[in-house]
């Protein structure tokens, strides 16, 4: 699935936007001008990585201290233990598109339960 995110010109460096797909995906524009897309939800607890602390190619969860590598999705330290999915990004005619991964996402337990229709 290819999702249009926003115009590259509308996403300043150092900023991120969240796409309200299920589960949500975030697009980051790094200070170096690269664009990456990863799953937006921290794998530890329900928090939006688009609200996190972007530094270089890493984003730190806004709540706790785990950092995710935007290039690989890898997590560096607890409390999160699982990586986030990464998604392919295409910039065409100034527009950012995200090709959502078909892998299963690593969502925190409370979010998985909610998506499954169980108690949050």
């Amino acid at each position: 699935m290819m999702i249009p995110a926003c115009r590259l010109a509308d996403l300043p460096r150092g900023e991120a936007i969240r796409l309200d797909v299920e589960p949500p995906v975030s697009v980051f524009h790094t200070d170096d001008g690269e664009v990456f897309a990863i799953d937006d939800t921290c794998t530890h607890q329900d928090a939006s990585l688009a609200d996190g602390w972007l530094e270089g190619c890493e984003v730190e969860c806004p709540l706790h201290a785990s950092k995710f590598d935007l290039r690989t999705g890898a997590v560096d330290a607890p409390p999160a233990k699982l990586p986030v999915r990464t998604h392919e990004v295409v910039v065409e005619d100034g527009m950012i598109y995200v090709k959502v991964s078909t892998e299963a996402p690593n969502l925190p337990p409370c979010v998985s339960a909610r998506l499954a229709g169980g108690p949050a």
Binding site: A50, D51, W53, P62, L63, A65, P78, K81, P109, C110
Partner: protein, 387 residues
């Protein structure tokens, strides 16, 4: 360096062991822990774990397949450090000789004098504490929490959600005034009364009553508060008694430089037992924060491996979080010395606030209640402004 002993097997000890390997240390690594458990995460103990939403397996800090090539000596307490012999003595009689030592023995919950042996009285620091308290909360009843700090408030919040009748007793006029200042302490502790949890402030506890099991908390003003369960949340003291006489300078924990080094060569300290020099504050600070236990070991380990002082840089402002009554509370910086606090976003009555503490007009700390996005921005700005 051929052998490093990490004394303490919680987050700070695990982070130190990871940092050692990450920084290229290839020698023998011994990790000593007084609890029988592998390293586990403590923040959920007062929240999701206590509520029964997550189990023991979810608390494990190591990742699947992680192998630090360490010898784990668990369930045994360190009783002494012999600087001349370069050895840690253990309660079971063993002695571990090493070239380098990382002290990560943490802090222990303060107890109420005279409460030993009285059933129904709990502290909350360890997994075993949480298991015992969880079983009792499941039976319901009247819970009295002594201490309105973060641990006490989180326990009160969790127990309220479980349907218990909860009272919080705080000796100070305002809970959380120490870390947050009086104004914001009032706002955050207002969460208790919002939910019908009784909050009694400015009154000390005289003692507990009960034969074999607690039945009430006696206050200094003469009141008696009936209780089926009591949780004592009155802070923690650094676990450093075992270092007395070792030559390691102790002053509110292990006194350390800004790079984690202690007064003894080849000995560094991290986590809740360590009183690091904070160049930002210009003073030694023993910071009992999860993030410090995670981040500082990298610096201390670099110091140890370098065999002396290293350029440690200015650490990020201290950061901690709390979850109470469904509200995410976040704080970064030092509120001590702030001369103003202003709410920049949200409203106190809604318990939805982004507040900035300033000294002489410069931001020195920031508090967020359900404001993760703005909080992150301010936290970054705070780090940039004072680095």
């Amino acid at each position: 360096m051929r052998t490093v002993a990490v004394v303490g097997a919680s987050l700070a000890g695990l982070s130190a062991a990871r940092s050692l390997r990450k920084q290229g240390y290839d020698g023998r690594l011994v990790v000593i822990g007084d609890e029988p458990h592998r390293p586990y995460d403590r923040p959920p103990l007062s929240k999701e774990f206590l509520a029964g939403e997550v189990g023991e397996a979810d608390l494990v800090l190591e990742t699947d397949g992680e192998d630090l090539r360490a010898e784990w000596l668990l369930g045994t307490r360190a009783t002494g450090l012999d600087a001349r012999e370069r050895a840690v003595r253990l309660a079971d009689g063993r002695e571990i000789r090493a070239d380098g030592f990382v002290i990560a023995t943490g802090a222990a919950a303060r107890r109420l004098p005279g409460s030993d042996g009285l059933a129904g009285v709990h502290v909350l620091r360890t997994l075993d504490d949480a298991l015992a308290l969880r079983d009792e909360l499941a039976r319901g009843g009247r819970l009295v929490v002594i201490g309105g700090g973060f641990i006490g408030a989180e326990v009160a919040s969790t127990a309220y959600a479980l349907g218990l009748d909860v009272t919080v007793i705080e000796a100070a006029p305002t809970p959380l005034a120490g870390p947050l200042g009086a104004d914001m302490g009032t706002i955050v502790s207002g969460l208790h009364t919002d939910h019908g949890v009784r909050l009694l402030c400015g009154v000390g506890v005289k003692g507990l009553s009960g034969e074999s099991r607690v039945d009430a908390v006696l206050l200094e003003d003469g009141r008696t508060i009936p209780a089926d369960i009591v949780v004592v949340g009155v802070g923690a003291r650094p676990c450093v008694e075992w270092l007395e006489g070792s030559g390691v300078t102790l002053d509110n924990g292990v006194k350390c430089g800004a790079d984690g080094r202690s007064s003894l060569a080849g000995v560094v300290a991290v986590g809740d037992c360590a009183n690091w020099y904070d160049p930002r504050a210009g003073a030694h600070r023993r910071v009992e924060h999860w993030t410090g236990a995670l981040e500082r070991p990298a610096v201390a380990v670099a110091t140890l491996l370098a065999g002396g002082a290293v350029e440690s840089g200015v650490p990020r402002p201290p950061y901690f979080w709390s979850d109470q009554y469904g509200v995410k509370i976040q704080f970064a910086g030092h509120s001590v010395g702030a001369d103003s606090v202003t709410i920049e976003e949200g409203a106190a009555d809604d318990r939805n606030v982004l507040a900035v503490y300033r000294r002489a007009g410069e931001p020195v700390a920031v508090l967020g209640m359900n404001q993760p996005r703005l909080f992150t921005r301010w936290r970054k700005q705070l780090a940039a402004a004072t680095s």
